[in-house]
């Protein structure tokens, strides 16, 4: 394994410390238990908390700050965080208007957040993100939450900042999630530091179609294709899923998994834009880059969110986090 680490067991702590120092103007770090939280808090505001395994940075810690999350709970690499983290984070950022957990639909995340919600002595609710359409809606444990999480967190974050109450934030989060579909492909697996070697191997002419964000295999192994062909397939599945129609407004997010250069991601964006434009969609906003990563996996996903006016206004609202910043 070729990585900049001393010891896989200390990586997360060292990294969180560096992250907190590099962004000391907007956030603070609590080490026992682990959570990162906003420096400037507002009373009377719904507290937004997310979290999940580490290795997906900038998700979620990079989204803590004005206009987005109040706290993020990082677990060990690809391992969901523990209920005491969410509870301590909730107590630290509670503004008296309740706590909304934004949870990616993975068994570990769901169960740990659920335990936290049960034990927490504050009013709380949660939004489950399940935007990955690589599996059928009827899948036994539901679809996974992947890159669409960024969109949900940004839009709900703006609503919470604007004073929306817990029920409205939850309803909005669910609406954004409903309007969002993602699909990803991987050209390589990734190397989990504790493991020391790639989680799976792919031949030079193979790719994984329909992958999650934990370096696991996807829905199927297929032959590697050219960018246009890959994007056409992804776009078609997404278009079908969301039943997109002429004149609808949308946000198009091309997400890199970590090792795919921006030159490729921007080219993917162009090809995807063509695909959706051809179908009459009005792409009003875009987000291109590495936001929901799988360590050093090469690959990318397309995420499309059909926007209504409220969602668009919240997307445009000021945000000041490590990874997304505009308007302030």
């Amino acid at each position: 394994m070729k990585k900049f680490i001393d010891d896989p067991n200390s990586l997360l702590d060292t990294s969180l410390q560096g992250f907190a120092k590099a962004h000391a103007d907007i956030l603070e770090l609590n080490l026992e238990p682990h959570f990162v939280y906003r420096k400037q808090r507002k009373s009377g505001k719904v507290a937004l908390i997310s979290g999940g395994g580490s290795g997906h940075e900038p998700l979620h810690s990079g989204f803590v700050g004005f206009g987005m999350l109040d706290a993020a709970c990082p677990g060990q690499v690809f391992t969901s965080p523990t209920p005491d983290q969410m509870m301590a984070a909730a107590e630290a950022v509670d503004g008296g208007a309740g706590v909304l957990f934004i949870v990616k639909n993975y068994a570990g995340d769901v169960m740990n957040f659920e335990m936290a919600g049960e034990m927490l002595a504050l009013p709380n609710a949660s939004v489950l993100v399940n935007d990955d359409i690589s599996l059928p809606k009827s899948h036994s444990i539901g679809r996974r939450g992947v890159a669409g999480t960024t969109i949900v967190e940004k839009i709900v974050g703006a609503a919470a900042e604007a004073g929306a109450d817990l029920a409205s934030c939850k309803a909005l989060g669910e609406r954004v999630n409903q309007a969002t579909a993602s699909l990803g492909v991987a050209l390589t697996s990734c190397t989990v530091p504790a493991l020391g070697h790639p989680t799976f191997a792919l031949a030079e002419d193979e790719m994984e179609y329909g992958v999650g964000i934990h370096g696991e295999r996807g829905r199927e192994t297929v032959k590697l294709a050219g960018a246009s062909e890959i994007v056409a397939q992804l776009a078609e599945h997404i278009a079908d899923e969301l039943q997109i129609g002429t004149g609808q407004h949308a946000l198009l997010h091309v997400n890199g998994f970590g090792a795919t250069p921006l030159i490729e991601l921007h080219s993917i964006y162009e090809l995807a834009w063509q695909q959706f434009n051809r179908r009459g969609l009005n792409i009003q906003r875009s987000l291109v880059g590495n936001f929901t990563t799988s360590l050093d996996m090469a690959g990318c996903s397309l995420t499309l969110t059909l926007l209504d006016d409220e969602m668009l206004a919240y997307w445009d609202a000021p945000v000041n986090t490590a990874a997304l910043r505009w308007g302030c």
Partner: protein, 208 residues
């Protein structure tokens, strides 16, 4: 012989040793159809328990299970972390006396809590394929008044059969479910470690 929480220090050491001895094998299983972290998750929990072992030993049963549950809850994470935390916290709630049948009843209730936490049951290629039949065998053997040694041997057999049964199951819960048909032919890592725990506990109790 009555068993008290004083058993925990040697018990935790034994489980730790067996998981460590099988770490690579378990990782291979979790990598084949999961994300490869299962053994690290458990080992983090066992390490935390080992550090608490002396504090657990003098407690009564409900307090011991409580401490174990909270320790596991804060240390493990992942799917298995919440499930084992649920198991131990439920044992805390249901634990009544030191009798085998008392424990068997509490354990059955705790496994029930795990099923609810994970919205899963036997046959879905998870640790439940070990814990559900083990809980059942434990209750039946306790009712039948089997000797501790006989009972423990039986639990070991049931656990081994449970883990083996996961091989031909289609995963419908946990990460392996994302793979669909590709999960066939692989043993579930969480079932394997459950069986290792049963075997280690049995070994310690037989020589206690």
């Amino acid at each position: 012989m009555t068993i008290s929480p004083a058993i925990f220090p040697p018990l935790i050491r034994a489980v730790q040793a067996d998981i460590a001895a099988n770490a690579e094998a378990v990782t291979e299983l979790d990598q084949a159809i999961g994300d490869g972290d299962h053994v690290f998750n458990l080992q983090r929990g066992l390490q935390a328990l080992a550090e608490q072992a002396d504090a657990i030993a003098p407690l009564d049963w409900p307090a011991a299970w409580q401490k174990i549950g909270m320790t596991v809850m804060a240390a493990v994470g992942g799917a298995s972390g919440s499930l084992y935390a649920t198991l131990f916290i439920a044992l805390h709630k249901h634990s009544r006396d030191s009798s085998v049948s008392g424990f068997a009843a509490a354990f059955a209730a705790a496994v029930e809590a795990v099923k609810q936490r994970g919205k899963a049951d036997v046959g879905e290629k998870t640790m439940l394929d070990v814990w559900v039949p083990v809980a059942l065998a434990l209750q039946q053997d306790a009712e039948a008044g089997k000797s501790l040694d006989e009972l423990l041997d039986h639990l070991c057999q049931v656990a081994a059969a449970g883990v083996e049964a996961t091989r031909d199951m289609l995963a419908t819960k946990g990460r392996a479910s994302f793979l669909g048909e590709r999960s066939l032919g692989h043993i579930d890592a969480g079932a394997k470690t459950a069986q290792l725990i049963v075997a280690a506990v049995a070994r310690v109790l037989k020589t206690a």
